[in-house]
């Protein structure tokens, strides 16, 4: 299977504010995500789920990594993400990231925010992109709220607008930090279904962090737990152990 994301011997260190304070450290011996893979990172609060997602979304750098690569096209070489530099442009297209909270800009309407993403991806004028946007907006029940600004949206609506922003263009790797947190059960289930469907439709690797392991399992996500600063074996929705790499 073609791997979209490959990680080997990655270490992330974070959190030491003072010299006396012990830094938080997360070791990832290996992690690979293929096309249409859906994986849910689980673990107790503070175990490093969000930190790892931020590293994968190129919002923070790992302390070290033997391999950290993104392959967009099986026929072309992978992109080495261990090299330093501004990688924000990758978040215009191949990598989508939905933050845990506050994913809506205050001065734009929801539609304008999503269109900004289309603009950055060079798809502002694409009918296909617009149709996709309409479909997703409908699936997330946001049709009536796209003209609203942040202050006019409820918490759950903001969460879904942030998700719509991340889903606006097809991604090779879609990362969502607790996409169902704060949502009612029906909306949470709807979001998980949308993520699963998008993974299939776009052949994207979808990686989420969640505390709701059961909901993730039910939506067909593999489960990877973070325990004691290390990644546990990857489990299929039926509980069967899978290899990471």
């Amino acid at each position: 299977m073609t791997q979209v994301l490959e990680l080997r011997a990655l270490r992330v260190t974070a959190g030491a504010e003072t010299a006396d304070e012990a830094p938080f450290r997360l070791e990832v011996p290996a992690l690979a995500l293929g096309r249409a893979d859906c994986v849910a990172l689980t673990g107790a609060s503070g175990c490093g789920k969000s930190t790892l997602l931020e590293v994968l979304a190129l919002l923070r750098s790992p302390e070290r990594a033997a391999r950290f690569a993104l392959r967009l096209d099986p026929e072309r070489p992978s992109i080495d993400l261990t090299q330093p530099g501004d990688r924000a442009h990758l978040r215009r297209g191949p990598i989508g990231y939905v933050p845990q909270s506050g994913g809506v800009l205050p001065f734009l309407t929801a539609r304008m925010q999503v269109e900004a993403v289309l603009h950055l991806a060079g798809q502002a004028a694409s009918d296909t992109a617009r149709q996709r946007l309409n479909r997703l907006s409908h699936a997330l029940e946001l049709d009536a709220h796209l003209g609203k600004r942040r202050t006019e949206l409820s918490g759950g609506q903001r969460k879904r607008v942030a998700l719509l922003t991340g889903l606006a263009v097809p991604r090779a790797l879609l990362i969502a930090d607790e996409p169902t947190a704060g949502l009612d059960a029906a909306n949470a289930a709807r979001v998980m279904q949308v993520l699963k469907r998008i993974a299939q439709q776009d052949q994207s690797a979808v990686l989420i962090a969640t505390h709701d392991t059961e909901a993730a399992r039910q939506a067909g996500f593999d489960i990877v737990a973070i325990l004691g600063g290390h990644l546990a074996p990857r489990l299929a929705p039926d509980g069967q152990e899978l290899r990471h790499g």
Binding site: A88, R92, P106, F107, L120, G122, T165
Partner: protein, 411 residues
């Protein structure tokens, strides 16, 4: 071709950054307006002061420069000035024109229109000669010994115009006889406009006045113009500097030569003091405003950054690069400062009215008030815009990756 996609992507990012910057300014309109007003309040004082200085000092200076009388250095009292000294004065670079004058008792005579009845009026006679700046364009041809050029006021007092004759009534009193009076006819060769010479005077050649002196002092029996005035000793001068600004230097030169003098107007001195004072105030205000402006521009951008750090981080999340965020900050900082600058330029325009009122209080003749050159003002505003943009860059540069992570989580 390989670079086309990144370039197009960069353009898209820059366009979005500008759109987002404008949307953000509109959304945060209260703080935008407050920021613009603050920046304008800091840019405006030096610009307004500069406009006042130019409007007041330069218009006044030009008004003074237009009035030829302000170039004259007035000799106080009576002196003994020979031909050699006269020639020396004429050679000074500070001298534009010099002509000798006799004693006061010679130059003040009773006069009236020839053939007219009624009383005579006092007419003060000054000397003139070719090159006299007061006569330029009015009586350029050398004046004849039986001719006089009158100022408008003198012509009005006498009721005469160009080509008319006036009669002077010279009077002398011998020690052993009754007073003698003799009429002298002079043709009015020209009349000087009041804007050129406001006093009530007539101008004649030195020979004419020398002839009067000879008769008044019993050196001759008739007041005919002197044939050879070269050897005469004179009591005073009409002496002019080439420009109003040179008049103080000419005065100093004459003072050093032993004359008691004064400038025709003390306005030259006043204007120089005013200009020096305004320049000093301008320097202080410029230094204070400049410093405060730079601090405020950076502070505004930094406060904006602190308030909107999370939004900036979110922009990075959706794919805006460091260059896009810099464009955003540069554009916002630049737009705010440019608007502040425009408000300040508007204030410069607004003070034009009061400046005109002040200036016209000083002017001898109505004149258009000088405006400051637009280019330096625009350059100052552009510099301010550049500082504002730089402040934006400074603020956004602090958005490091770990900061993005922290603010996204709302820590």
């Amino acid at each position: 071709m390989a670079d086309a996609a990144p370039r197009s992507s960069a353009r898209r990012g820059a366009r979005l950054a500008i759109r987002v910057a404008l949307a953000d300014l509109r959304h945060d309109r209260f703080l935008t307006v407050v920021g613009i007003v603050l920046l304008a309040a800091l840019i405006a004082p030096p610009l307004v002061l500069h406009a006042i200085r130019v409007g007041l000092v330069e218009t006044w200076a030009q008004d003074l420069a237009r009035d030829i009388r302000n170039r004259e250095v007035v000799i106080i009292g009576e002196n003994s000035i020979g031909a050699g000294q006269l020639a020396e004065f004429a050679r000074w670079p500070e001298t534009d024109f010099v002509v000798p004058e006799p004693s006061f008792f010679v130059s003040t005579q009773r006069a009236r229109k020839s053939g007219a009845r009624g009383s005579s009026v006092d007419l003060n006679l000054r000397t003139t000669a070719p090159g006299d700046p007061v006569m330029a364009g009015i009586a350029d041809a050398p004046l004849g010994p039986a001719e006089v050029v009158l100022s408008a006021r003198a012509a009005e007092d006498l009721g005469v115009g160009e080509g008319d004759q006036i009669t002077l009534r010279l009077a002398r009193t011998p020690s052993d006889a009754s007073p003698e009076r003799v009429p002298v006819e002079l043709r009015v060769a020209a009349v000087i406009a009041a804007s050129r010479w406001a006093g009530a005077e007539g101008f004649v050649t030195p020979q004419t006045l020398l002839g009067f002196r000879n008769w008044l002092t019993f050196l001759s029996d008739v007041p005919t113009p002197a044939d050879h005035p070269e050897g005469a000793v004179w009591q005073s001068l009409r002496i002019y500097a080439p420009t109003v600004a040179n008049a103080p230097a000419l005065q100093m030169r004459l003072d050093q030569a032993g004359f008691e003098t004064r400038l025709m107007t003390d306005q030259v001195d006043r204007i120089l003091k005013l200009e020096t004072g305004l320049r000093q105030i301008f320097s202080i205000v410029l230094a204070l405003s400049g410093t405060a402006f730079v601090i405020t521009a950076f502070l505004l951008q930094w406060l904006s950054y602190v308030r909107k750090k999370r939004d900036l981080a979110l922009r990075s999340v959706i794919g805006m690069t460091g260059a896009d965020l810099t464009t955003f900050a540069v554009f916002q900082g630049g737009v705010m400062t440019a608007l502040g600058g425009l408000v300040a330029l508007g204030l410069v325009g607004a003070v034009r009215g009061p400046v005109e009122t002040i200036v016209h209080g000083y002017l001898s003749t109505p004149a258009e008030v000088e405006s400051p050159a637009l280019l330096p003002l625009l350059a100052a505003v552009l510099l301010a815009v550049a500082i504002g943009a730089l402040a934006g860059i400074g603020a956004v540069r602090t958005l490091r990756p770990h900061v993005i992570s922290t603010v996204l989580r709302g820590d």
